[in-house]
Symmetry: C2
Subunit: 473 residues, 2 copies
């Protein structure tokens, strides 16, 4: 494909995406594909000769679209938002066009420096503790996901217990990690990946609002210490996946401090809300955290992947992850004047992800972002009010930010049927969780294009579908 052909086909793809944004509501939100549908339609082997781009793009419509669950639909209320936006798409495009590697400062200085700079901006934008700024001993870095962030935090926490011989000896078997029983599955996975095993994770009980009970954490740590174990790592959650519960950071921080345990705060989805001063209460006590992560690729209009991970002290992170083989040595690194982000993450290579984050922040502006977030939270508040006012439904917990957990009063089977019918309709997409062992529907508002009319229509559909199911057939 020559540059001239690229210009032509590039415009076609841009138009395709613009059309998609305009027409996404036409498609069933949840794909109706059955297992194997796509594979049956694809040729068994790769083509020997090149094919015209027109044919490939036509196949995207014909073969790929039916197998898409439309995360960018304004009627997508499942899981968590994973939104994107036009400036983010263009940032990703430019990053692909430049095709640079940001593993070392020297392999593209702008890639590292823009990332440092924009993550410093975010410290101010979210009013995070100043110790996360790159100007001091800490700093921020883009990880692919909150899973990788918690893994890196865990490794930093564990290797700092090892002393001079730690990197050679591996992670001390006496180290223990803690998180609430509502914390994300990635924490358990991090313990598997770090070779510690899930048996080293203590799942701490939660209160009626599904927030970690600090008293239980303190008790469990004391018991572990009495058993000769070492509390090394606590992951507190700001906005749990099931119900957006917020752990009490202040009391957890005090306990961590007492035991010398590393406190990581996972605010993957909820963190973005801190753009608005009125929601910053969820971060009370964050000063005690050793690390913090939130995902602009969830609720901040930046397409996946873009997790922002901050540490108060980059020393332990580098101690856990840095490697300098001969073929990566260079003057800039040896001068000590630059940061090489390969040492802040598991992979070596990294692409220029700061571009899309920079594009989004500049295009929306802080005020534009605040307006969108406030809009989503206000819609969730309104939706929660409708649920409360309807005697067939109840809130499972009070609404938290942009997430409403609710259920029909008819029990698990009724709720499962309702969920299946709603998703089969193609008009909305919701997912579920279990709270107090009861099936609970989650209504998560955060797609870029979601407006009041979509939420209103969804609620109408939920009520009608439930009513139709309850009436004798």
């Amino acid at each position: 494909m020559t540059p001239e052909e690229f210009r032509r086909h590039g415009r076609e793809v841009i138009d395709w995406i613009a059309d998609y944004i305009e027409q996404v509501e036409r498609y069933p939100v949840h794909s109706r594909a059955r297992p194997g549908d796509l594979r049956e339609a694809l040729p068994e082997t790769a083509p020997r000769a090149g094919e015209p781009f027109e044919d490939i793009l036509a196949d995207v419509d014909r073969l790929i679209l039916p197998g898409i669950t439309h995360w960018q639909s304004p009627s997508f209320f499942g899981f968590y938002p994973a939104n994107t936006s036009p400036p983010s798409i263009l940032g990703e495009l430019l990053s692909a066009g430049l095709g640079v590697q940001g593993m070392l400062w020297t392999t593209s200085p702008a890639c590292t420096e823009l990332e440092q700079h924009v993550l410093d901006w975010l410290v101010e934008m979210l009013d995070l503790p100043k110790k996360f700024l790159s100007s001091g001993s800490g700093g921020g870095v883009i990880q692919d996901t909150a899973s990788s962030a918690v893994l890196c935090a865990l490794l930093a926490a564990c290797y700092r217990h090892g002393g001079a011989n730690g990197r050679s000896a591996g992670i001390d078997r006496r180290l223990v990690a803690y998180a609430s029983d509502q914390a994300h599955s990635s924490i358990e996975k991090a313990l598997l990946v770090a070779g510690m095993g899930t048996g080293r994770l203590r799942k701490i009980e939660t209160d009626d609002g599904f927030a970690m009970r600090a008293d239980c954490l303190a008790e469990r740590m004391a018991a572990d210490v009495a058993d000769g174990l070492v509390p090394a790592f606590v992951c507190a959650t700001v906005g749990t996946t099931s119900s957006a519960a917020v752990d009490p950071l202040e009391s957890i921080g005090e306990i961590c401090c007492r035991h010398g345990a590393w406190l990581h705060v996972d605010a993957a989805m909820a963190g973005t809300a801190a753009l608005c001063p009125e929601f910053r209460g969820m971060h009370d006590g964050l000063e005690a955290a050793d690390s913090y992560a939130f995902n602009p690729h969830k609720w901040m209009f930046v397409n996946f992947d873009c997790d922002c991970f901050f540490v108060a002290d980059r020393g332990p992170l580098l101690e856990a992850l840095s490697i300098l083989p001969e073929y990566l040595r260079n003057q800039a690194t040896q001068s000590g004047q630059v940061v090489d982000f390969r040492d802040w993450q598991v992979p070596l290579g990294r692409r220029f992800r700061a571009l899309k984050l920079w594009f989004v922040i500049r295009s929306f502006g802080v005020e534009g972002l605040q307006e969108k977030i406030r809009g989503h939270v206000a819609l969730a508040e309104e939706f929660a009010g409708w649920v409360e006012a309807d005697e067939s439904f109840e809130l499972a917990v009070p609404r938290s930010l942009n997430l409403v957990c609710f259920r029909h009063g008819g029990g698990d089977d009724v709720n499962q049927q309702l969920l299946d019918a709603l998703n089969d309709s193609g008009q909305v997409f919701l997912t579920h969780t279990r709270l107090e062992n009861r099936l609970t529907l989650r209504f998560s508002i955060g797609q870029t294009g979601t407006r009041r009319e979509h939420v209103e229509r969804a609620w109408g559909l939920i009520r009608e579908t439930a009513r139709a199911q309850q009436s004798p057939q």
Copy 2:
């Protein structure tokens, strides 16, 4: 940004990239930025109000470009190729526009099925062992990097030793891993991440051609067994980073088989050469491998990130990495009819990376890809001939595929000065390694736009620069 504005700005970015591809030779290949240059030019805080896209794109020219090391320049001969191509850029663009999550089959069936299908294509295209096909007990998956692939392979290898209690108990401390002293630093890093510590990695001696000595591997394993340790994992390399050396897979495979150790083969850069039957000798013995990885984002015209990771048996991988919290349960997963790729990797989320791989394979066709690869290898062969014919220079090792390791006869200082002068010229970019403790220049040919004239010009510049340095000043 409305869809209409997106159409307009999207075209601008497409044109920007087309211009960039056409004009990339104008820029100094290696960025001349000094530490802090970009950060000093950026505003200290994020803008409150949104800014026009025109201003942002103008800043890319004004601020970002000077800080770019141009990996896509046809005169970039450093590290390894990390090439891209127009169809790949458009695949990445479409993926950003669709904005789907491929963590589960149900969250976009096409995302999972296209990935399975294209990775099956690659098994045939590279003539890999059939056991890596998804139709049997194995299958392929896209990882971000070869670092993550080797980590996943190590975890699968280690957890299969743990028995029923393994996930809870963590990785057995008696397990040992092996790789050659030329293997990539990511293997050492994988042992750090897996909590095992670098002390559990045996770096096996290499022969004159920098390939692993199977006799040394066998001896070391026997010694470890005698010490009560368990050989669990071997990483063999096809195409080392320093010199593209190829480990003897057949003998290594026999040794692994004898000890029940998992054999992972890392062909990150070189693997792509197997598109051409004449280069497939490097894969002799691959039938014994439990897993294999190569990076289309290095030499196959697919922009970063895209590592293809294949396992012969997906069971141990799932055993090591699968987690199923309530909020991810769904009918398709429970039916057992589908694959959920979140269980094949460390992160939970994943984007639709198979699109760009599909676009590239279809646009080039197998024959188009072969032609490019053969062209690069032929250029390397020619370059090696020029080095051999020049009495001031010597080959450090015989050329391997697209990589020529050479040096000036004047010793380390001369070579260092030569390297610095070449890179400072802005006309080419090369990197170095050390072989037999001597500074060695690496000339790696693999950028999409590199033609004979670029290699010829680079060689002319290398000779002239060396001659100018040697002459009295």
